[in-house]
């Protein structure tokens, strides 16, 4: 359920970058304060372990399909919340950069959805609570499954909220939730079973590995962190719902420090509009509904259904593809001057 760049708006992507960045900073400070360097390589290698474990698939009974480990809850169980969060964030960063899983702007959303919930919500409040002092019996199975399901459902719900706030998809809220929740409920049960089975195996063969994480206490600041995150999301929701700014307007308002950019900078806007009219060599040719789109009487007779004129649309596509061809050709010309790659492909 990785969010992708193409599905988030700059506002949502930016807000979750800030939220996830703050959580990384907070966790890093906690870890640095522990002054326990021996766990540094363990975190690194466990991150690589999650990565490698995802290569190993298993068949899911009754469905004929196969699945793999997600890893968030297992990391929390082995490392405790703060180290687990940093490790999950690093795994997602590598996946984003090298496997194009999720995007670079959506990275904040992904870290929040897949890292925050298992590390700071389900691990301390569900996984640690249900087994009590009995660590490896049937209660551990219940804890693993409930925590995995809850974590994934929260993450999936967060994906729904982020997508809807971004306004890119046309899916209505109800349909989207009905689609996401059952799917992630099923995935959560499988994930919980795997986590339980792995922990059971480790507890029988090498119980000492589970000691440090069991000693880790639930974070005291987690409620505060959750409250701040909820406030950020709530504020974002309210603001977004009330003003619904376009992405560029949002970034402009960030730069100018005022949301009233258009009114305050009316002259600037007029100037830019003037430049646009003067510079556009195929004016009014995008898919934006053009108020002044020239329409022939024939088209008017055809009906008012089409808000943009086809002539300008085709011209627009041709124009943009021309730009692509020019860029490609310039690249090929420059290629001759560019140094050859250091290694052969």
């Amino acid at each position: 359920m990785h969010m992708a760049d193409a599905l988030v708006s700059p506002v949502v992507g930016g807000a979750f970058w800030v939220a996830s960045g703050a959580l990384i900073g907070c966790s890093a400070r906690k870890i640095a304060a522990e002054k326990d360097n021996s766990k540094t390589p363990l975190m690194g290698v466990l991150g690589a372990f999650v990565f490698a474990a995802q290569m190993i698939n298993f068949s899911i009974p009754g469905t004929g399909s196969s699945g793999h480990l997600g890893g968030g809850l297992l990391l929390a169980a082995l490392l405790g919340p703060y180290r687990a969060f940093i490790t999950i964030a690093s795994v997602l960063t590598i996946q984003c950069l090298f496997f194009a899983d999720g995007g670079i702007l959506a990275l904040g959303c992904n870290i929040f959805n897949l890292g925050f919930f298992p590390a700071f919500i389900t691990y301390p409040f569900i996984y640690r609570v249900i087994p009590g002092k009995k660590q490896y019996g049937g209660r551990l199975a219940a804890a693993s499954i409930v925590a995995a399901v809850a974590g994934l459902l929260m993450g999936a719900f967060s994906v729904v909220i982020q997508t809807l706030l971004s306004g890119i998809s046309e899916l209505p809220f109800g349909t989207f939730v009905l689609f996401m929740m059952p799917v992630h409920f099923g995935i959560g049960i499988v994930e919980g079973l795997v986590v339980w089975a792995v922990l059971l195996f480790v507890s029988r063969t090498e119980p000492r590995l589970l000691v440090p994480a069991n000693g880790a206490r639930a974070p005291r600041t987690v409620v505060a962190v959750f409250a701040v995150a909820a406030l950020v999301c709530g504020g974002l929701f309210a603001w977004f719902a009330s003003s619904d700014p376009d992405g560029l307007e949002w970034s402009m308002s960030k730069v100018t420090g005022t949301g009233e950019f258009k009114r305050a900078g009316g002259k600037v806007h007029d100037l830019l509009a003037g430049i646009q009219e003067a510079v556009a060599f195929l004016p009014d040719y995008s898919f934006k509904p053009a108020h002044s789109a020239a329409s022939t009487p024939d088209e008017q007779a055809a009906g008012p259904a089409s808000p943009v004129s086809p002539g300008t649309t085709v011209a627009g596509i041709v124009g943009s593809i021309l730009v692509l061809i020019v860029a490609g050709s310039v690249g090929l010309i420059l290629r001759g001057r560019s140094a050859r790659p250091q290694t052969s492909v």
């Binding site: 992507g13 540094t40 690194g44 290698v45 898919f287």
Partner: protein, 256 residues
């Protein structure tokens, strides 16, 4: 499971095997990361029905890929492995938003079809940009740049270690999976609980590895973080490049 094609060129990624000297030398890695983020931000800010602007933005990765002699086939494979989640989201739009948006002859293109196309195009453009960047900038340099941006040392050290050991563990996991599949008849032995034991033993091996690595790191004077932040003053060229990039991207958004 990850698609095997994702691993085909594992040796290429993060090594900085490609260095188009024309655009990038190691002094420019910092500003190119900033420009990459700005680029993605601008592409994402394109309204959901604006096909032309996305195509025009595609010019930048295309220019970079052709001029830098980047492996086109490799990037194309990455684009084809686009996540099913995006495809579902994009494919749903034409069914959910059937209002005709534009008529070409007798054919009416629905608003949903156009917005779905924009989602796919935006994915292609942003993924190409990120993959091109990672092909050109070695991962350790990217981590140094991040450290320069005051990203916490704990996180940067984590990234370095994760990157370094993922090659080793992926190899090990693949070998373990192959061994299991060779011994498994049909579906027997590939079930969840047998695989969990496999994962458990991979976890034990991982833990032993971490112990050995830690001893190695201590022996070499490790004191908590791998990359110490360097006080690298911002150069005029960097400010100029970032400013020029913002100007060009903004101009494209205004013109197209």
């Amino acid at each position: 499971m990850r698609h095997p094609a994702q691993l085909d060129h594992l040796h290429l990624i993060g090594r900085g095997s490609y260095s188009p000297a024309l655009f990038l030398n190691w002094r420019n890695h910092r500003v190119s990361l900033v420009i990459l983020l700005l680029f993605v931000l601008f592409v994402i800010s394109v309204p959901k029905h604006d096909v032309t602007a996305v195509i025009v933005f595609a010019a930048f990765p295309l220019l970079f890929v052709t001029a830098g002699r980047l492996p086109v086939l490799f990037i194309a494979k990455r684009l084809l492995l686009i996540s099913p989640f995006i495809i579902i989201m994009a494919a749903a739009n034409p069914f959910l938003d059937r209002t005709p948006y534009v008529r070409i002859g007798t054919m009416a293109l629905s608003s949903g079809l156009v917005s779905g196309t924009v989602i796919i195009l935006k994915s292609f453009v942003t993924i190409t940009a990120v993959v091109a960047f990672t092909l050109c900038v070695p991962f350790y340099r990217m981590c140094e740049v991040l450290r320069g941006f005051r990203v916490p040392g704990v996180f940067v050290t984590q990234l370095v270690l994760l990157y370094r050991y993922s090659f080793l563990l992926v190899e090990e996991a693949t070998a373990m999976q192959k061994a299991r599949n060779m011994r498994a008849f049909r579906r027997k032995g590939r079930d969840l609980f047998t695989t969990a034991k496999l994962l458990g033993s991979l976890l034990l091996r991982t833990h032993d590895k971490a112990d050995r690595i830690y001893r190695g790191m201590i022996a070499r004077g490790f004191e908590g973080e791998l990359n110490k932040p360097k006080a690298d003053a911002v150069r005029k060229e960097e400010l100029f490049s970032a400013g020029a990039a913002v100007l060009v991207f903004a101009l494209i958004r205004v013109v197209f």
